[in-house]
């Protein structure tokens, strides 16, 4: 049985308590075996399994947000090292600097093991740090304009050499700093949206953790949008939404519910194409199986996009995003012609 992680989330506590009790009883049985104890352990074990199922199969949206942010969740570089070989990281935007919150480079995607083929791809991904020092170095996964511009530089290089692009989204948002604004955070994101809409090679986007706002979308335009089961993707974080609309930080759970920010919410809206199933409890409970599910999903998407002529690919990409949005036309009773004074 997979042990519950050592950095449990609040809602996992009842499981942990049961698990501790089980350990205790098993230790006791080691000392003095008895039929009664065996029966009690058996009962507790089945209760543990039931509870585990009922918690993890009924995750609320806010619980999924917490899983997406779990400090042990696989990050971009973990995925890259799991399903690619010989990643050559490329640094800098050739304009101002390098941004550690965004990684970019060329690598061999090991598609052969997923029934596709091994091939060169470009990868760009938002990168968080694992410990205090690295978290700060990676700016918590929040890019400056240089990050978006570096990503674009590498994507354009991919187009030049006819290589597909894989984008890994995992950010709590673009960095809201003074210098980021001075150097055109908005322009950098806008430019990427524009250029990604006309990049003549296949683009596969995977939301692996947090997909917050324009900061995430800045590398999120593509032909296939995949999303891990416990990732979230929305226009704003639940906390900020709570603070703006409820004028209080206390409504993050309501906001998470209202924003419909999980993969199962977004698929029927046409915002994502496929959901990548995660191990019970989230990717960090069994990273290896999470990597293989993600690698397999990327391989499938790349295979589907192989051999599509660039003009067809771009037309389909435009149509895909054009179809996003829900609205209704109401009848206009008369021609809306307005003339001046």
């Amino acid at each position: 049985m997979a042990k519950t992680q050592n950095q449990p989330l609040e809602f996992e506590r009842p499981l942990l308590e049961l698990e501790a009790k089980l350990e205790e009883m098993r230790a006791l049985r080691g000392d003095e075996p008895s039929a009664d104890l065996n029966e009690a352990i058996g009962k507790l074990e089945s209760r543990f399994h039931e509870l585990r199922q009922s918690i993890y199969k009924n995750l609320t949206r806010w619980q999924r947000v917490q899983i997406a942010r779990h400090p042990m969740r696989p990050y971009s570089l973990d995925h890259i090292s799991a399903w690619t070989d010989g990643f050559q990281e490329l640094h800098g935007d050739r304009l101002f600097g390098d941004d550690p919150a965004m990684v970019a480079g060329l690598t061999t995607f090991k598609g052969g093991r997923y029934g596709y083929k091994d091939r060169t791809v470009a990868i760009v991904g938002q990168q968080k740090g694992r410990d205090t020092k690295m978290r700060k170095y990676r700016r918590f996964g929040m890019s400056n304009p240089e990050g978006y511009r570096k990503a674009l530089r590498v994507m354009r290089m991919a187009a030049k050499f006819g290589k597909p692009v894989i984008c890994l989204l995992d950010t709590p948002g673009a960095f809201p700093g003074l210098e980021a604004e001075e150097r055109g955070q908005a322009e950098a994101i806008a430019r990427n949206l524009f250029e990604m809409a006309r990049l003549p090679v296949p683009i596969v986007v995977v939301v692996i953790g947090e997909g917050a706002s324009g900061g995430a979308l800045g590398i999120g335009v593509g032909d296939r949008i995949l999303m891990m089961e416990n990732a979230w993707y929305s226009v704003i974080s639940p906390e900020s939404c709570s603070s703006i609309l409820w004028r209080s930080w206390d409504y993050k759970e309501e906001a998470a519910r209202g924003l419909k920010l999980t993969a199962p919410d977004l698929q029927p809206l046409g915002i994502i194409d496929d959901i990548i199933a995660e191990p019970l409890g989230g990717a960090h409970h069994d990273p290896e199986s999470a990597f293989s599910a993600t690698g397999k999903a990327v391989a499938k998407a790349l295979a589907e996009l192989d051999g599509i002529a660039p003009d067809v690919l771009l037309e389909q990409r435009l149509q895909k995003f054009d179809a996003m949005g829900v609205f209704e036309s109401v009848d206009t009773p008369e021609e809306d012609v307005v003339s001046g004074s």
Binding site: G214, L259, G325, V338
Partner: protein, 285 residues
Amino acid sequence: MAWFRRTKAGINTELNDQIDVPKGHWIKCKECASTVNRRELQRNLLVCSECGYHFPMSGMEYYRLLFDDAEFEVFDTNLVSQDPLEFTDRKPYPKRLAEAHRKTGLTDAATGAMGKIGGHPTSITAMDFKFIGGSMGSVVGEVISRAIKRAYTQETPLVIITQSGGARMMEGALSLMQLAKTSAHLTRLHDKGLPLIVVLANPTTGGVTASYAMLGDIHLAEPGALIGFAGPRVIRETMGQDLPEGFQRSEFLKEKGFVDQIVSRAEMKSRISQLLDLLLEPAAG
């Protein structure tokens, strides 16, 4: 759509009803606190005669200002939000929509129009800040996209007037995707060699800045407009310090290289038509 009932052709409201300032003969300027006469303010294109502060102006007034002889055809006033997420915060979203409609006569925060500027047939799309802070949801994204399509199918230049707090929270990821949708349509305008002139009005922030507002061939900004991605409050909290004077204002954006010119409302029409003459050669006749 349950929230929406068309009572009259909502777009024919008088100029008086369109001003986003309190009723009464005298209005206090938000910038210099001087008291200005309402009629005079209207004659002066909603610009304070004391300090030059540009009061918010509706999309319809921009069309009247910019199109030759104030003649134009309005489009897409019949698109309404369906509340796809059934979103409720302190108020249900349909209630907010209905209130905004009642207040403005608009169905959402953007419209489109076709007319001529300096003889050049032109597609304009203008946002309306008064409709839920000019926020962009599915309807705004569609309206802007249709205005872009009108420009590239009829081979006309495009002018976008932006005034928006950003993407609309109440439509979640659907709002976010409007950034990508509008930007994708702009690639077609670009490929046809047609100009995009963006007019940045106060305020232009968030997702609107991070999409079409920053993708123009030419960026004109009204004086003193707040233009940025993150809001000043968030940046102040991140930095833990006060922001410099004039930060994220038009003049700052020009200094940093993101705005071509600062143009007052009174000069906007002639400036756009000069630029179109340069880009397209003067219109015949």
